[in-house]
């Protein structure tokens, strides 16, 4: 027994020593290799930023015809000259990624305000079970706050969901099958899957009354991306809640920037029912987070169809007019908002 105890103590001492060696000589290089997104968090402190804008591709995507190709965050900065503004932008990010990016901002920083992109689609199964999640989750493993050696061990032993595109797709389909849609009026479909099947079966007709396959597929994409209802158990809601908690701990003013969605196109392709769900979800988010003291900027219908770049897939990529509108709304909200302190 004495020998066993000695062995355990010796093993623990060796582990502590190994952790020190790793943290001293290998950790930083590993972070920059395997979790390179964290560099932006460090930079936010180094640059003494006062306002940090966290975004995904919507922040930096521009149209080729745009004369102003700046990011939304840069447009916000222009409108807030009194603050040192910067951004942390990572494609396909969502609230969980933002949480860990914020958590990794060094404690010694000048940040006063944090604007976090709130993308409506990111609450839906199509994004939650996106095939990009494997790569994203892998990048998060080492920045989750474990001791350095443990973080690397978790990465070595693949402590993140490794799924193929098909497997992710199956999870999304299961969610669409299982999650009921509840409308305050009669609605013919019980789930997103039912709704999607009906559209795929009936098809969308062109002006000649013929089935337009491309339009049918786009309609299905809209249903799959927006045809859901956000509840308290939504993983993104939990992540945004964690962001609120973190901001309170760090003393940051917090603003959630609900991105504009192409409600014109949703109305045209699917109709009132889908737009109803989109509005209902935004209302839920506004009520929930305003009650927590967060400034919630509602841009849902701020950008019109002509200002959306992508025509064959629902995205939040806007031409310069759209980006300027979002930036204006964010800047105004920051100026007047009594964001959570």
């Amino acid at each position: 027994m004495k020998r066993l105890l000695l062995s355990i103590v010796a093993a623990a001492a060796v582990l502590v020593l190994m952790n020190w060696v790793y943290a001293r000589w290998f950790y930083r290089a590993d972070l920059l290799t395997h979790s390179d997104i964290v560099e932006a968090s460090w930079q936010a402190a180094t640059d003494s930023l006062e306002l940090v804008y966290l975004g995904e591709s919507s922040n930096k995507t521009y149209g080729y015809t745009d004369t102003d190709q700046r990011k939304i965050s840069e447009m916000v900065a222009e409108r807030l000259p009194e603050m040192r503004c910067g951004d942390i932008t990572k494609e396909a990010s969502h609230a969980e990624v933002y949480y860990y990016l914020l958590k990794n901002i060094p404690k010694d920083n000048d940040i006063k305000t944090v604007v976090v992109t709130m993308n409506l689609r990111s609450f839906g199964a199509n994004w939650i079970y996106s095939s990009l999640e494997t790569a994203l989750q892998k990048k998060l493993v080492m920045i989750k706050g474990y001791p350095p050696l443990m973080g690397r061990a978790l990465l070595a032993f693949k402590a993140y969901p490794i799924r193929t595109k098909d497997e992710w797709g199956r999870l999304a389909r299961r969610s669409w099958e299982k999650t009921p849609l509840v409308f305050p009026y009669d609605f013919p479909y019980k789930t997103t899957a039912d709704w999607n099947r009906a559209v795929a079966y009936e098809g969308v007709k062109d002006s000649l009354g013929q089935r337009d396959q491309a339009l049918t597929e786009l309609t299905a994409h809209f249903i799959k991306n927006y045809g859901f209802q956000i509840h308290d158990d939504n993983p993104r809601v939990r992540d945004f809640d964690r962001i609120v908690k973190l901001a309170k701990q760090r003393g940051w003013r917090l603003a959630f920037n609900i991105m504009a969605e192409n409600t014109d196109r949703a109305q045209e392709l699917v109709g009132d029912d889908l737009v109803f769900l989109m509005r209902q979800n935004v209302t839920y988010l506004k009520h929930r987070y305003e009650a927590m003291g967060v400034v919630v900027i509602d841009n849902l219908e701020a950008v019109r169809d002509r200002d959306f770049i992508d025509r064959e897939w629902p995205t939040e990529h806007y031409y310069q007019t759209g980006r300027q509108t979002i930036a204006r709304n964010v800047a105004e909200a920051i100026k007047k908002g009594d964001a959570m302190k």
Partner: protein, 472 residues
Amino acid sequence: MVFNSIEYLIFLPLVVLLYYLIPHRYRWFMLLAASCLFYMWFVPKYILILLVTIVIDYSAGLLMERDADSPKKKKTWMVISVVSTLSVLFVFKYLGFVNDNFVKLCQSLGLNVRTSVNLILPIGLSFHTFQSMSYVIEVYRGHQKAERHFGYYALYVMFFPQLVTGPIERPGNLLRQLHEEKRFDGHNLVRGLRLILFGFFIKMVVADNLGACVDAVYEHPEQYNAWSVWLAMVFYSFQIYGDFFGYSTIALGSALLMGYEISDNFRSPYLSKNIGEFWHRWHISLSTWFRDYVYIPMGGSRVKFGRWAYNIMVVFVLSGLWHGANWTFLLWGFAHGLLHILEKVLYKAAGTAEDGRHRFRWCFQLLGMARTFLLVTLFWVFFRATDIGHIKTIFTAAFTQFGEGQPLAVDPKLWAFLALFIVSDFVLKDRRFDRWCDHVPVVLRWLLYAVLVFCTIVFSSVNNFPFIYFQF
């Protein structure tokens, strides 16, 4: 569940703890449930296929014992069982291949045939099918009593450490041990942990890092110069060895934690002086399976040369096909068989200085090792390539692209790990790591553990390289 996953690191200690906490008479159930969970972690529904095989072979065992006095009936049960088990294997593994070739043949004859078979191969099907068949054959031969307890038989087929990629166990070894009451033994626990640690290092640090280089070249051989293609071929030899040896070592260690000794699958195969010896050292549980159930029943070596050569070719071609339903595997098996026969002919004609009392015996032995390694490496190209065209592309690049194409960038650390792996093979020759450690002074041993743990955590590949033999 894969061994090099966080899930397994949680699963294994829990199973071992439960194993020693519960009385012997309930352990079979706990281990069976754990094995089911382990297997269902991949694709749950495939456990039904496993169940079908288990029920067939379990019943066949009992029926053969019941009809022991009637050789004809006994043989009928054995044939029914083997054919049924092989049918399952055929449907999931070979039907698609046969269908594709049939369609191609019909199309070349101008017939318009369009059929397709798209079945996903259940993980480890070839392994547990062969393990199950070995039980039936052993019962038929009278070497093994039929197992009456369905749970123990199911556990014999499904024992999680060796369920998905072997070693392919015999009932005489594993089934017997499953009935034994294992008491906690600290030394077994330490030995098991040593094996698991060593297996992790070989798989995650050596094999997976080599895999990244190999994949880069095999995906675009036309972009690399000939030396890089050769390097990738050599790296693949060590990748597949490290990958499979690593898995087998973790399997051995996991079983040993609960006191079970399962068979060694490797004994420094690249130190073999000829291809015959290589097959005594590489994937031993499969080689001996083919030896005992195919080669010897066909007459083995106690026949005329022509018949012997035929027997060898059958065994190697079957071994190739066992690995995968593709012409590349068939070619790989054929090449090994042919080389085996050629070596026998040449040795017979010229004799060999490798094993005799020649003054420069060591020199010949070294040359023999180098020659065998080179040939095995060349044959691994058949194994790694996706199709015959790919084999051609690799060899064309290896023999023609001198002075053109980019060099393969290799991390200096990788050379160090590879060197360590090769040295360990020399040091451990014919010995197992856990037993070798017993003779290392305690301070050095702890230092070795620390280095292995540190390297496994810090230098393991972060990319996901599934165990190569999972696909079989």
